[in-house]
Symmetry: C2
Subunit: 489 residues, 2 copies
């Protein structure tokens, strides 16, 4: 375990962790949101972020400070914490974003990293190359090699107690992301931003985002704190946390406010199109949409930024509570219905079920079956895997009905999990709550469980008693299983 990051509670690949930031003398609880502070333009002051919104950590851009003579001198003299009037942790970016936006910047990694250290940053960043999605593999590999050289070079720079990040690039090539993750993890660096995902999020490519994160996570150790760099929309936090991301940064709260855009956990609304404020935050309690529209530009921007932050921080708390309660995937299920692209993201997460299953706790709160996708959750996969360990003998009844003495053993069978010995009935996840109107995916998953136990016990005979399963489920059961409809035999 890295000594500056400790994971406390887990759910899927998500966790509540503690990131110790020695230079700031604080411990930041993750998942955490880092509001982005533009040193030239503060919509909401850092002091207010700390007091009113509970921000424990901020991020600002050392490149902007470095390139502005006045800011640079003040930062050198006063230090970053006094400059921003914030005594929590401050992370600094290096200018990579400017590199991706404008194509070139005029500082080197050693120079900007020393500058970050000099002005008192708590977490500094080298100048990586944010390779966009969908570039040629050749370009992705070549730029990744440069990023990796710079990360390695950063190791030899004396940065004292400042934590240093090792960004993970690799464009939309999951195997490059994995390789980049493994390389970054092997350095002496401390925090691991997954870079250049902003274009994916701007285009609502949440499925691709999940694949990229999954790749990076396979390379990174489980003890690596992961920053989904540039991800600031609360709609996708739960999904990203479930994939194993710990840190987010939001410029969105301020940028969107400037453009009269109003964040919700279900998407983005434009103030002009709102007849009601669908939120319970103090801003939305005290105003109507007409009130907000009638404010002058600055007051409106500030009010919308405050709303955006309230929604964003509330979602972080909701996610933490979900991890504590063991129902993070239930929250992801809900957020998956915000937008078809979010459903894509959740379905992509389900494609990585085996990867998630390795970190998912063995016991959580009651499993809720909430959609066809629920049949693909890690808990179902794990139950199927565990069936391999059981050795039923003789002739075994697998039944949705009562047990019977006519068989050597009489197991229960519960969609979506499949069969299990009755003694396990009260164990997680078999205490699941399922809807009365169950779907074909649940029956098919249960049938796959039957197949699993049948195939791993070739000398045992199986009989399946079911309440009239759909044909597509029964078709998945091996032919050698004798099945009958309960109530008809």
């Amino acid at each position: 375990m890295r000594d500056h990051f400790e994971s406390r509670d887990t759910d899927a690949a998500g966790r509540i962790g503690e990131l110790t930031v020695p230079r700031a003398g604080v411990t930041v609880e993750t998942p955490a949101l880092l509001p982005v502070i533009n040193p030239n333009l503060q919509t909401i002051s850092p002091a207010r972020l700390q007091e009113e919104f509970g921000a424990e950590i901020l991020i600002t851009n050392s490149y902007i400070i470095h390139n502005n003579e006045d800011l640079r001198e003040r930062a050198r003299e006063e230090g970053l914490h006094d400059l921003l009037d914030f005594d929590g942790a401050i992370m600094t970016d290096s200018g990579s974003f400017q590199l991706s936006e404008y194509g070139e910047i005029d500082v080197r990694t050693d120079e900007i990293l020393r500058f970050q250290h000099e002005i008192g940053s708590d977490i500094g960043t080298p100048v990586d190359i944010p390779t966009p999605p969908d570039v040629s593999r050749e370009r992705a590999e070549s730029e990744l090699a440069t990023t990796q050289e710079r990360i390695e070079a950063a190791e030899s720079i004396d940065t004292g107690e400042m934590l240093v990040t090792a960004p993970v690039q690799g464009s939309t090539y999951p195997d490059l992301r994995e390789q980049a993750g493994a390389h970054a993890d092997a350095t002496g660096h401390d925090v691991f931003p997954i870079g250049a995902v902003v274009p994916l999020m701007n285009e609502y490519r949440y499925g691709d985002m999940v694949d990229v994160v999954a790749g990076a996570k396979r390379g990174l150790g489980i003890d690596a704190p992961v920053h989904l760099f540039g991800a600031g929309h609360p709609m996708m936090f739960a999904l990203a946390v479930a994939m194993g991301c710990d840190l987010f940064d939001s410029a969105a709260y301020a940028l969107y406010a400037r453009d009269d855009r109003y964040l919700t956990v279900r998407g983005t609304e434009h103030l002009d199109e709102l007849d009601y404020l669908p939120c319970s935050c103090p801003v939305c309690i005290e105003h109507t949409p007409a009130d907000l529209r009638s404010l002058d530009d600055q007051a409106r921007e500030e009010a919308l930024a405050a709303h955006n932050l309230h929604v964003t921080f509330a979602e972080i708390r909701r996610i933490k509570q979900a991890i504590r309660s063991g129902n993070l995937l239930e929250l992801v299920e809900e957020r998956a219905r915000s937008h078809p692209a979010m459903l894509d993201g959740y379905r992509a997460l389900c494609d990585h079920t085996d990867q998630l299953e390795r970190e998912d706790p063995a016991s959580k709160s009651t499993f809720f079956y909430l959609s066809h996708e629920s049949a693909r959750r890690p808990e179902v996969r794990r139950h199927h895997r565990r069936l391999d360990r059981l050795d039923p003998e003789g002739t075994v009844l697998l039944t949705e009905g009562d047990s019977s003495n006519n068989y050597d053993e009489s197991w229960r069978i519960v969609p979506p999990f499949g069969p299990f010995p009755r003694a396990l009935s009260e164990t997680y996840p078999l205490t699941a709550e399922v809807p009365d109107r169950l779907d074909v995916s649940a029956y098919e998953a249960a049938a796959d469980g039957v197949t699993r136990v049948v195939e791993s016990n070739p000398d045992t005979e199986f009989v399946l008693g079911h309440w009239d399963w759909p044909a597509s489920a029964l078709d998945r059961v091996p032919d050698r299983v004798d099945s009958f409809v309960l109530g008809e035999k």
Copy 2:
């Protein structure tokens, strides 16, 4: 159209309406939440409900007032509005709830209705019989007959400008609910509570609740304002509104607070089990869970009641905004993932798609495909029905790919809708957003669309070009359709 209720915007069977309450001199916008005021015990004062939470209408119990000498005399002297210090609309219940809880009450309909009028109630209620779920049909019919007699008797009582309700009973027999709805609608009464659904909601039987509401709605006219009596949990408001309910009443906000229970749109939490407050309301911004736990009983109850109300009223605003934006069913999709029982409710709603389709607007905002259930939405059903009106001739290509000159006509085909002439491409709902990872339900619904157009055009030949649909979808297409996989021909 009833002259005291006007529907303004609609989505599915939900609507934003205006309920004119002449005696109060106010117009209440629906969907509306009526906080329940216990005249003996006000957790949050009516004045505060109005000012801080925007409550336009309350409900209180005339039976409790009638049976308490002090309250009765004060209500007679001061009138209900002064007694409660509230100048919005006040609805009064008759004691039916006490009847259902304690088995008998000692007032008659004429007596209690006159009393409600006398003390200045704006909406009065006769003493109906709240028949519980699952009783014998005989009992349900007999009690319904009594309820209907009382509703009829109430017509002859002089209640001046006071609106009078006609409760719809019928237990869990949808056809009795329908008959009760039709009977109530034919009276001269004004507001239509669907009664005795509290036991269903207490047991999380949202599927049954939807069936009961659907039955009542089939009997009631589209212009009847419908009150889902006793429904106060914000988790199910969107579902109930989509089924056509306009009014809700919440005692939950106060009762739950008394028991340290914390409402969210995703369910109910107990304060003792919260490590974070998953909400952005003023109470949750200003407190931690530990802060709340350390308050004395009264302050804690008041804080939790305020939180519960903030969440509840915010959900009402969210629903109204969803109706305005034309994405109420998208909100229902999301709420359906709060609990397996809510998924049951949504799947029950999908069972009533034809009924919803009759009221659903022809054009809304972009259709979002958010789950397998989306394939069963009214918009898909309507598209299939509309296909009957089209008369393609000759040999027609239905294709997911480009059009072709080798056919007499070349239509597009888009899951979950199915085929349509290219000229309709930019019309609702065919502009739908769907996930890249589409599911089998979408393909099957599209195949059903193919079947529909093929069967209604027996003299036309059809060729289907698709991107490798799953077998279960292709199996639904009539044999006479020649189909091929795009890119393979």
